[in-house]
């Protein structure tokens, strides 16, 4: 069984994992809306920028993005200013995961916005609303229910992808148990990790199912 030190280590690893997943889904959702609005905008510059953003962050591995931020930025900074600085690995993880989640969520949000019947925008405009008012009051609120399931999906993916941060000196859940397994030669620690991952994803699944039902009250 686990001793107290191991228990705390596993708890800390779980917290690291959870923190990165939760911060990145929240930041990703906020910036995802902005990038999604850019994608459907008639403004060519906004359109091109968001297209490029999504193209880059979906088209390269998350691990690579993590490396660029953690390893490349301090070197670029050194070359540019002649000064070194210690980059906080946790901050790197937040930034990389949020940037990556933004790209995926932007596409999810764009698809949800485009799935709302065009008549809704027309009715809002006919009532004198501006594009911005129509989007914030009429269109985007109607996407919430349709966003819950893909958001839950994305959160579960993020939660599992946090294991990538072991490469930048962070002790997430998986790395913590791997260290224990190597030290003791026992595989049982992997089972503990699996149980914790499953426990967390179960909670996500249940909570998101509930949210979907609640947000759909206006549908018959």
């Amino acid at each position: 069984m686990l001793n107290e030190t191991q228990l705390w280590a596993i708890l800390n690893g779980t917290i690291v994992t959870l923190e990165i997943a939760i911060v990145s889904i929240i930041v990703g959702a906020i910036f995802g809306v902005i990038v999604a609005l850019g994608r459907i905008s008639k403004n060519k510059v906004a359109n091109a920028l968001s297209w490029f953003y999504i193209w880059f962050f979906r088209g390269t591995p998350l691990l690579l993005q993590l490396f660029i931020i953690y390893y490349a930025i301090p070197i670029i900074y050194l070359d540019a200013t002649g000064m070194t600085f210690q980059i906080d690995p946790m901050l790197c993880a937040y930034v990389a995961f949020s940037l990556n989640a933004t790209a995926y969520l932007a596409e999810i949000i764009r698809a949800a916005i485009e799935s709302i019947d065009n008549g809704q925008m027309e009715a809002a405009k006919a009532l004198g609303m501006s594009y911005r008012q129509a989007m914030t009051r009429i269109i985007i609120p109607q996407t919430f229910k349709r966003l819950v399931a893909p958001m839950g999906n994305e959160l579960i993916l993020l939660l599992k992808d946090t294991s990538l941060v072991s490469t930048i000196a962070l002790f997430d859940l998986l790395r913590t148990v791997k260290t224990m397994a190597s030290a003791s030669g026992s595989w049982i620690y992997y089972i503990y990790a699996a149980a914790i991952y499953l426990f967390l994803t179960t909670i996500i699944q249940v909570v998101f199912d509930k949210m979907e039902k609640k947000l759909g009250v206006y549908e018959r």
Binding site: G119, E122, K125, A126, L127, G128, R137, Q142, V217, Y218
Partner: protein, 252 residues
């Protein structure tokens, strides 16, 4: 002063010209019914009035003010978009598919635009909304979501929603075409009531009987032009144009 004026309005979608030079004036208090086959440009003309579609060529005036002047899809005049938006808000529009906001209750559907566009106090507009709901016979449905209403009830809420913005003109785009036959009557009754109160109305409809009864003027459109217009008796009973006769024979 006319409420609405179109001067030589043309509208093309790609290579397809839907409106081929429309001249139209609507006077205050007038009830105008527009009839014609699908594809004749009736709905497009209506949508050009409140700028849901941008015209290709021509001029649009709302209450004597120029809101659009274009030539071959290019603006000939820069007109302040805020002014255009304010003038367009004077035109209430009722759609074939109701287009109620499904995530809002009946009450919220009616109050949302006045509160955010006209910044009217919520308590005041809710009182107005109740009066409007009363007048369309739906005050007991104030807290229901649209999905729980029948088509006829939804369309009556949509009419109340448009009226809450206190429009000078009400436009109806085939308001009963998506309804089951037994629900058409209640919507027409609401519209008849509005006409009796002196509202200026433009109604695109296939309900010839209704047009005869409420219209001051009937316009028959065919292939993107106004083919014939006059009093209901002139156009519907004694049409002069061959195309009007053929159309009326088909639908009556």
């Amino acid at each position: 002063m006319s409420m609405i004026k179109l001067v030589n309005v043309r509208k093309s979608f790609g290579n397809l010209e839907v409106l081929k030079g429309i001249n139209l004036e609507i006077q205050p208090g007038e009830v105008v019914c527009i009839i014609g086959a699908s594809g004749s440009g009736k709905s497009t003309m209506l949508r050009c009035l409140n700028h849901l579609e941008r015209i290709s060529t021509g001029e649009v005036y709302i209450q004597g003010e120029l809101t659009e002047k274009r030539e071959k899809n290019k603006d000939l005049m820069k007109i302040d978009p805020a002014k255009v938006q304010a003038l367009c808000a004077e035109l209430g529009m009722v759609f074939q598919n109701f287009n109620l906001f499904p995530h809002l209750t009946v009450m919220q559907n009616i109050t949302v635009a006045p509160t955010i566009v006209k910044k009217i106090n919520k308590d005041i507009i809710e009182k107005t909304a109740l009066v409007l709901l009363e007048s369309v016979g739906l005050s007991e449905k104030r807290d229901e979501y649209p999905s729980r209403l029948s088509g006829g009830q939804q369309q009556r809420v949509a009419i109340a929603r448009a009226l809450a913005m206190e429009p000078k003109i009400m436009m109806f785009d085939e308001p009963t075409s998506a309804l089951d036959p037994e629900l058409v009557g209640e919507v027409l009754a609401t519209m008849r009531h509005l006409a009796e109160e002196g509202m200026t109305m433009i109604i695109v409809t296939h309900e010839i009987g209704f047009a005869r009864e409420v219209a001051d003027r009937v316009i028959f459109m065919d292939e993107g032009v106004i083919c014939e217009q006059g009093t209901p008796d002139e156009v519907l009973l004694n049409p002069k144009e061959e195309r009007t006769k053929i159309f009326l024979n088909k639908i009556l």
